[in-house]
């Protein structure tokens, strides 16, 4: 039996500021859009980080993605994240 080894899996880590945390980028962009007469109600900035991870299995890769997102890509006092699978090209 051949072990599926070292396959690459892609994930998008979507990082959002937690509810109630000030978003200066969003607030400033909002002000400018309003002045340009766009009917925007809100603008919120977040990050979208795409990772490719080599692991034996999809599950193992996703676990790593979660760990990376939690430990390195975000600070939990400020941000929440969500992990989205990316279809392999």
């Amino acid at each position: 039996m051949i072990k599926e080894k070292h396959k690459t899996f892609g994930f998008e880590v979507k990082v959002k500021l937690r509810e109630g945390i000030l978003d200066p980028q969003g607030a400033t962009t909002f002000k400018v859009l309003r002045r340009l007469n766009y009917n925007v109600e809100s603008v919120r900035f977040g990050k979208s980080i795409e990772l490719e991870i080599k692991e034996d299995s999809y599950e193992a890769a996703k676990d790593k993605a979660r760990e990376i997102a939690y430990k390195i890509l975000t600070n939990p006092v400020l941000e929440d994240f969500e992990i989205i699978d990316l279809i392999r090209k």
Partner: protein, 228 residues
């Protein structure tokens, strides 16, 4: 051609600009009659030189220079350039705003080190024959840089190599072709990342920036080489 004593300069101030006062000092030393122009009005710009200073217009929150380009004054600047009323000098954030506005080709983005860099660098003069640098005997100027987003990028051959005015001797930020400063096709707009206004007085350790301000004076007054 103008009497040198009457040369005027307007410094555009956006919310978040922070080198406007430094520019005022440097331009005054170099004999300009200087006025600040608040960004929020569309008005006739009746100056020999329009200076767009460094800083963090609108916090540089979306992209550097991106939100400032929508300020009302920018349509006045575009008209000023089109009608060739005078010269436009954009330094650091000013350069970023001019590229975002499409007045100069390309774009400036984050340094390869992903860090802010504050230091003096050597830049080589590539084009000695623009309104902004002329009759200068030196080949290399030492000028301060202070930016996190000074990496110049241009695609589709949009930049004519003869429009490159200054190149870094040692590329600090990953700029394409070591570009530190460029002019537009019409030679009336100059954008650069280094800060000539920070090198305008012996007390500040360097006067190399004055080569640029004095070149501008020479061009505007039609004078032959005055000094340097």
């Amino acid at each position: 051609m103008k009497n040198g004593n009457l040369l005027t300069a307007g410094i555009i101030v956006f919310p978040g600009s922070n080198c406007d006062r430094d520019a005022y000092f440097a331009l005054t030393i170099n004999g300009f009659n200087v006025k600040y122009i608040w960004h929020d009005f569309n008005q006739l710009l009746d100056f020999d030189l329009v200076f767009i200073p460094g800083g963090f217009s609108y916090g540089d929150y979306l992209r550097v220079g991106a939100l400032a380009r929508f300020s009302p004054v920018m349509s006045s600047v575009e008209k000023y350039i089109l009608n060739k009323r005078g010269l436009v000098l954009g330094v650091c954030n000013g350069f970023q705003i001019l590229t975002e506005a499409g007045v100069l080709p390309g774009v400036l983005t984050v340094n390869t080190s992903h860090r802010f860099i504050c230091k003096d660098v050597e830049v080589e003069i590539i084009n000695f024959d623009t309104p902004f640098i002329n009759n200068v005997q030196k080949k290399i100027l030492t000028l301060p840089i202070a930016h996190k987003e000074g990496r110049y990028i241009v695609i589709d051959n949009k930049l004519d190599p003869t429009n490159i005015v200054l190149k870094y001797k040692e590329n600090p930020n990953g700029s394409f072709d070591d570009v530190a400063g460029i002019v537009n096709e019409g030679y009336n707009v100059f954008g650069l990342m280094p800060h000539p206004e920070r090198a305008c007085h012996s007390v500040l350790g360097s006067e190399d920036g004055n080569y640029i301000f004095q070149s501008i004076r020479r061009y505007l007054t039609g004078a032959e080489s005055i000094n340097n």
